[in-house]
């Protein structure tokens, strides 16, 4: 496959990476010999290649565009140390988006020793478009022809020798998921880095015929300004396209710095290269002239110039792909992918299958999580907690310290972990399996029409579904929505998906307030219906708020719709278990713990620190009570929501603790000032002693659905949106809505029922 190799003998081909420029681009080159840039179209297995080479575990999934930002890793081969820089996945390098600009600038100005392009063998045509653009910029390109296993499965044969000959750069077939071909890939990368192989890319003339004269003129000027520049025509094209970064590089002479170490052939065309101060000065005068020419020429070339370049590139990509890849002469009688697609998106089976699958996922989660949840609770709260107290007594810690640390920080954290961990550890892997298989994009496909009517994207169905597990994870899942407007909508409304932390609250309140209204044999059904009703209300609110947002506050945000349905891939169960637990579960849990610990301390202090004979809690409850009563709740509930903002899981324990403390009934609970939970009968007794009515119960269920997201989620929204404004909106919008709804319900209730 290394047919067009060339063993260099001269020193010219020594590795000459541009350390200074790389440093400026944020790559620390200490202790590394070579830099390899990793590029490729989204969803070509770029992350898989990265992980396989570096041993890091980035989350990979069957979605276009998983890599957000830039990752770096290192590996060693042949006694040399390599740094691998994972650039954003892009379809082209024409710098029309920030991602494309980052990738392009890194390859052009960073001058990595090797630019590795990961190419999806099953979508050769589209991927070659990027390769053709790469080889216009740099010589040192290695193509990794990935997903060869998938190509074979589809009966597709790719002739990598032919491809390498047509492109003029090494092509290595691989299947990164199973690590096949990676050793050879490393060898070739090493050979290119050390100069053993010198790729001679075949550059396409991508300019449309109408502008050839303009390109010739400008390229000639660029060439004489920077003798030895291997890609003068490309630079000329970029200047005609109004690429300011390239114009700057021409102006500052930066492009001239890039001529060494590359393209000696073109350098040989010129007799001698004299670099005197006068030359430099002459260049400067010249560079202004070149830019002036470019500006004048731009008015001459047609307006759709940019697109014509793309058409030309794609035509060339199609030609090369056609020669290299041969499809099976006749269509196989049975195309598995197509058959699955026909079924899962059919009018008759599509929706039913979807509901069945998700019901199954939820059922496994709920029924499977109860047992480990009980164990964890017994262990963390039942065993370790008293044991810690005993230890504190032994060490004779002062009461406030042991209270703060054990009753506050430890207990709240233990509570969150035992409620949160088991369902997430079941839900996320199941979900990830469906994702890995490729089913989830089909769900988005089926549901898009409904979401479209609300001004949203079909993929929001998936972030919403994820939100039923955890809203913070749901927010992260909005990354798959590649349209800014719809992604923002999905983030701002994710909170209306009733998360794992709020289900227990709903179930408890529904059981003791609503279930008890019905005859005993119906109690279970009625309370279950009430909880499902609340969850459905959440879904309705998602649509309604999405609709309202897309027409008001978010009007003017960019919207671009496209939904790629990737081929089905056999899920890798163990890999999925591992990454989804590390990546989603532990990650979310860790953030929750980080937020829950200080909240535990705050709850303890509020309940136990006395000022002038009264707890801080009692002051705050007195202050919040009028508002609470107005909206059919009370001051205790509001205070619980304020101090338990980090995690919805500890709202009920906090309410119980505060109610017992204020009402002074010591019949239930471990003692005042400590979080506790008791059986349903005693809970009802405690709450009724605290003045709760049916209205309080109903409004608590409503408020639990419609209030600000927990601080973990808010932090995630801030991280993902990068915007303070939208984080504030995400907090205040549901809170305001919650107040409005509970207020309205309370007034109408009082008018009709009378109390």
């Amino acid at each position: 496959m290394t047919n067009r190799t060339h063993t260099a003998t001269s020193c010219e081909s020594c590795p000459a990476h541009n350390a200074a420029n790389l440093m400026r681009l944020g790559v620390n080159m200490m202790d590394y010999d070579y830099v390899v840039a990793l590029t490729g179209n989204p969803n070509t297995g770029k992350s898989t290649v990265f992980n396989a080479l570096t041993g890091l575990r980035q989350h990979t999934g069957n979605w276009p565009g998983k890599t957000v930002g830039r990752a770096e890793g290192g590996f060693e081969f042949g006694g040399k140390k390599y740094k691998l820089v994972d650039l954003p996945g892009t379809y082209s390098l024409l710098a029309t988006s920030l991602d494309e600009e980052i990738a392009r600038d890194f390859i052009l100005f960073g001058q990595p020793d090797v630019s590795l392009v990961v190419v999806d063998a099953t979508r050769l045509e589209r991927n070659l478009n990027l390769v053709l653009q790469m080889i216009e910029i740099t010589d040192r390109v290695v193509v990794c022809l990935n997903l060869m296993d998938e190509a074979r499965r589809h009966g597709l044969q790719v002739d990598e020798r032919r491809l390498a000959r047509d492109l003029g750069v090494p092509v290595v077939p691989a299947a990164a998921r199973t690590r096949r071909g990676l050793d050879q890939l490393l060898q070739v990368v090493h050979a290119v880095a050390t100069g053993e192989i010198l790729p001679r890319p075949r550059r396409v003339r991508s300019e449309p015929p109408q502008v050839q004269d303009a390109v010739n003129l400008l390229a000639g000027q660029v060439g004489s300004l920077f003798p030895g520049l291997p890609n003068a025509r490309w630079v000329a094209l970029r200047l005609l396209d109004g690429d300011e970064r390239i114009a700057e590089a021409v102006h500052s002479g930066e492009l001239g710095d890039l001529t060494r170490g590359e393209g000696e052939t073109s350098r040989m065309d010129l007799p001698l290269k004299l670099e005197t101060a006068e030359m430099v000065e002459a260049n400067r005068v010249n560079s202004d002239e070149v830019l002036k020419t470019a500006r004048a020429l731009r008015w001459e070339v047609a307006g759709d110039f940019h697109e014509r370049v793309m058409v030309k590139l794609y035509a060339e990509a199609a030609r090369i792909a056609d020669r290299a890849a041969s499809k099976p002469s006749e269509k196989p009688r049975f195309d598995l992918d197509q058959t699955i697609d026909r079924v899962v998106t059919s009018r008759r089976w599509g929706f039913g299958l979807m509901i069945l699958l998700f019901a199954l996922v939820f059922w496994i989660t709920i029924s499977g999580a109860n047992v480990p949840s009980g164990w964890l609770s017994a262990l963390l709260v039942g065993t370790i907690y008293p044991w810690l107290h005993a230890l504190a007594d032994l060490a004779s810690l002062p009461w406030w310290l042991s209270g703060l640390l054990i009753d506050g920080v430890y207990l709240a954290t233990a509570w969150v972990v035992s409620v949160m961990l088991p369902p997430m550890a079941i839900f996320f892997p199941l979900f990830t399996l469906l994702e890995d298989f490729g089913y989830l994009p089909r769900v988005a496909f089926n549901l898009d029409n409904i979401f479209k009517k609300a001004g949203a994207h079909g993929k929001q169905s998936l972030s919403m579904m994820m939100g039923f597990g955890c809203n913070a994870a749901g927010i992260v899942a909005t990354r798959i929505i590649d349209s800014p407007l719809e992604r923002l909508i999905a983030m701002l409304t994710n909170n209306f998906a009733l998360c794992n932390g709020r289900w227990p609250t709903q179930i408890l309140i529904a059981t003791i307030f609503i279930g008890t209204l019905a005859p005993p044999y119906l109690a279970g059904l009625i309370s279950a219906l009430a909880v499902v009703g609340i969850a459905m209300l959440g879904v309705l609110l998602t649509f309604w708020v999405s609709w309202a947002l897309s027409r008001t506050a978010l009007k003017g945000e960019v919207s671009t719709f496209s939904l790629e349905l990737p081929p089905y891939r056999p899920p890798r169960i163990f890999q999925t278990l591992y990454t989804s637990i590390i990546d989603r579960t532990i990650y979310v849990l860790w953030r929750a713990v980080v937020f829950a610990a200080p909240a535990g301390a705050a709850i303890w202090m509020v309940a136990n620190v006395k000022i002038g004979g009264q707890n801080i809690a009692e002051y705050l409850i007195g202050f919040l009570n009028p508002l609470g009563v107005l909206i059919g709740l009370n001051g205790i509930i509001l205070l619980a929501y304020v101090i338990a903002i980090p995690a919805n899981e500890i709202v009920i324990p906090t309410i119980l603790m505060l109610t017992v403390m204020v009402a002074g009934s010591h019949g239930a609970g471990a003692g005042t000032g400590v979080l506790f939970q008791v059986d349903q009968g005693s809970t009802l007794a405690v709450l009724q002693a605290g003045g709760w009515t049916l209205l309080t119960g109903v409004n608590l269920m409503l408020f639990s659905l419609i209030h600000n997201p927990c601080s973990t989620t808010l932090y995630t929204i801030y991280k993902e949106s990068g915007s303070r404004k939208w984080t504030v909106v995400a907090a205040l919008l549901p809170l305001g809505l919650g107040f409005a709804v509970t207020f309205f319900v309370a007034q109408v209730w009082r008018l009709v029922v009378g109390f």
């Binding site: 589209r126 731009r298 008015w299 998106t345 059919s346 089926n446 029409n449 009007k555 003017g556 059919g632």
Partner: protein, 356 residues
């Protein structure tokens, strides 16, 4: 527990609060937005608008006096006197007889404002989701707020565009530009292939009508009938739903500028009348993209290019969504779902089986 407040009273109070909030903060008719609108028309904006008006007249070879200025800015004549006085004191204009003339400095200033205006329109078209009819109004406001640095940054981000979305040239930072070569549609002979190069965005009423017709620069049309009562033409490429016919009053049609399409440019296309929108393609049928409407612009257009959907691309309708509207197409071996509102703006031709 404390007694709950009277429910009826609370409801009434809340309703009153909501109404008050609406009166204050409603987006267009609220007191706050009205107050901001009056403040917006500041002294600076008035002077800059005056310069723009003078430049506009100058470039059309007309002369401007106090009355035309007052008319253009919708201010009383005595106020236009003070405006001209201010401009004179800054040496931006000079009076020659009853005529107001721009000084070189004044012309440069005017072009800078025009540059900001058109760049902002281009920004709204390419990078936001605002509707066409909102561009001009927003740009009228922003042109006075953009500093030279911000203007340069905007131009850089947009890739130094040459024309705004209406087809007007954007002066570069040196104030240089090349006006479009178009002529009014009403002045063209019938039955020549034409391309729209410019659509005048003032007055707003006329523009709204043109925007509602779905016309935009870049579309190729064929003039069928041109008379004093009506102008009739077909959009050949880039309209909605294929080969569509438009009927306009001459006064509206005069705001469209066109250039004749050179024969060489269309020669690579086969018979154009065979084109139809992608949305018409039935499942398992194949077609080849002829053109993508200029109405698909900005990020949406770039996405299509990224996915490899551009003139010459073969597409096959593969799956229809069970809820309708969405269809998945096989494009360059990938399966890509697009909405109907997009596919009706993509023109294709059928691929006959022998070529397929």
């Amino acid at each position: 527990m404390m007694p709950s407040p009277d429910p009826l009273l609370s409801l009434l109070l809340a309703a009153a609060l909501v109404l008050m909030g609406l009166a204050l903060f409603a987006p267009n008719h609220g007191l706050l937005s009205r107050w901001r609108r009056t403040r917006r028309y500041s002294e600076r904006a008035l002077l800059e608008d005056a310069l723009k008006h003078l430049q506009h007249f100058e470039s059309h070879g007309q002369s401007s006096g106090l009355h035309t200025l007052a008319g253009a800015l919708e201010i009383p004549v005595n106020q236009s006197v003070s405006v001209v006085g201010r401009l004179q004191s800054h040496e931006l204009v000079q009076m020659e007889g009853g005529e107001i003339r721009l000084t070189p400095v004044g012309r440069e200033y005017a072009l800078r404002v025009i540059r900001a205006h058109r760049l902002w329109e281009q920004y709204l078209a390419e990078e936001t989701g605002f509707a066409e009819v909102e561009w001009h109004g927003q740009a009228e406001e922003y042109e006075h707020q953009l500093t030279p640095e911000k203007t340069a940054e905007l131009a850089r981000k947009l890739g130094q565009p040459l024309y705004d979305p209406h087809g007007d040239p954007i002066p570069d930072w040196k104030g240089e530009f090349k006006p479009h070569a178009g002529q009014a549609l009403t002045a063209m002979p019938v039955d020549t292939p034409l391309r729209i190069v410019h659509i005048e965005d003032e007055p707003g009423v006329v523009y709204a009508q043109l925007a509602a017709e779905g016309l935009s620069p870049g579309m190729e049309i064929r003039l069928i009938e041109s008379g004093p009562k009506r102008v009739r033409f077909w959009v050949v490429t880039g309209g909605y739903d294929g080969f569509e016919e438009h009927l306009l009053a001459p006064i509206v049609a005069a705001n469209i500028s066109v250039v004749p399409v050179e024969v060489q440019e269309i020669s690579h296309r086969r018979e154009q009348a065979t084109g139809f929108p992608l949305s018409e393609l039935k499942v398992s049928e194949r077609g080849r993209v002829l053109s993508i409407s200029p109405r698909l612009r900005g990020a949406e257009r770039r996405r299509l290019l990224d996915l490899g959907i551009l003139p010459g691309t073969a597409v096959e309708a593969a799956l229809a969504s069970p809820s309708g509207d969405l269809t998945a197409y096989r494009v360059r071996d990938a399966l890509i779902a697009l909405r109907r509102e997009q596919t009706r703006l993509i023109q294709i031709e059928p691929i006959s089986e022998e070529f397929a």
